[in-house]
């Protein structure tokens, strides 16, 4: 199945927001959680300090459509990749992975190449 499996479904889009490393900067992800809720989505926040394994477990148990990963500590190349690898390992190919945080421009194409899209930074406008 392709990512975006929920497009024809009557239930709202379900998003897991997570910070899969040692990073306590959660203000941004809270703002995002509220914006997505206000856009009518179901939003799960994984809490502080989940491991990539926990992120993937939650995504599968909750059958989410999208995983939104946020890191501001520079560990994105390691931690985002670990999440993507674990999804692949568990045979999950129908969950979209979107990144955000402090991500240098040089890293963005590398993340895109492993399937992490978006990679939004500070100042990204929220839906009105």
């Amino acid at each position: 199945m392709e990512a975006g499996k929920n497009l024809s479904s009557s239930r709202p889009i379900k998003v897991l927001l997570a910070k899969p490393a040692i990073d306590g900067h959660d203000r941004g992800i809270f703002v995002l959680a509220r914006a997505l809720r206000d856009a009518g989505m179901d939003v799960i926040y994984a809490g502080l300090l989940p491991t990539p394994e926990q992120v993937v477990d939650i995504a599968i148990s909750e059958d989410v459509d999208v995983i939104g990963l946020s890191l501001l500590n520079g560990a994105h190349m390691t931690a985002f990749k670990k999440v993507v690898d674990l999804l692949k390992e568990r045979g999950v190919d129908d969950i979209a992975v979107v990144g955000g945080g402090i991500i240098p421009d040089d890293d963005k194409p590398k993340l895109e190449a492993i399937g992490v899209t978006g990679n939004y930074g500070p100042g990204t406008p929220l839906p009105p």
């Binding site: 239930r11 709202p12 477990d57």
Partner: protein, 321 residues
Amino acid sequence: MDTRSIIEGIASHDPRIIARAISIIEEDNERSYEIIRAIYGMTGHAHILGITGPPGVGKSTMIGILSRKLTEMGKKVSILAVDASSPFSGGTILGNRIRMQDTLSKYGIYMRSVSNRGMTGGLSRSTWNMVKILDAAGNDFIIIETVGAGQSDIDIVYLADTVIVTLAPGLGDSIQAIKSGMMEIGDIFVINKMDREDSFFALKDIMDNVYERNGWMPRVVGTNSLKGEGYGELIRAIEEHRVFTEKNDGKKKIRYREEVRLALSRIIDRSVWREFGRFLENGEIDGYYDEHVDPNTVAMEIFRENSAFAHSHSVEGRVES
């Protein structure tokens, strides 16, 4: 994924397929009913624990500890936790998981966050059918956490075998305790946060106000979730009530009737609204607004003038189509 492999996956307890099945159930459509029809024969084993109580008393934390203890006793446990959707956008922040994630990961307990989709009563419409999926998947216990509940959010009484009403010190005096609603539905009352000041007064207020209903005297238990105290007693109370419900199947019959009532009201709702919903759209009632007619009269007029139309299209016929 086709319906047959979903049903086989549930029967073989495959967690990923169970997760997908619950999503289909959430859509609450013809396909979800087909799955329930197919697995209904496999249900009836699980004991359903309903955890309810006001927001912030520690329901999620309690479920984390309770599910761990039950798992350590060799029981298979799954959890459904319901949170309220926004009445404005329909979106939901599902936050119960944070309080129990470490336990869930360590013990491999299945937990699913559920949005109430605007339904009052503390549950979502599809919670009943989600429970059936988890029951068919071989769980011994299914723990349901309601929305942080007020006095009248008592639907859990129709779904759970054992209702645990969770309270904390500082929620009010003995007058609060004798008010109707929540106090009438608990099979077990838990006063959480027993480390707090005045906790023993809260415990006593509840003890003084519980009374025997249908042959069961509700148990009152104090817990301290920070230290894990009181949970042995809580599990004993659950076990006693489980044995009690096995001998008295009255509650299961009431639940069955309630489920039929819910399903019926859903069918009636849908078919009736299909006929009458259009009167609220496209400026149909603007004339009444301009004439300043009171809303009750408008509703009655719409119903009276169109009920002949509704009768000629029989409700049963609509459901079949």
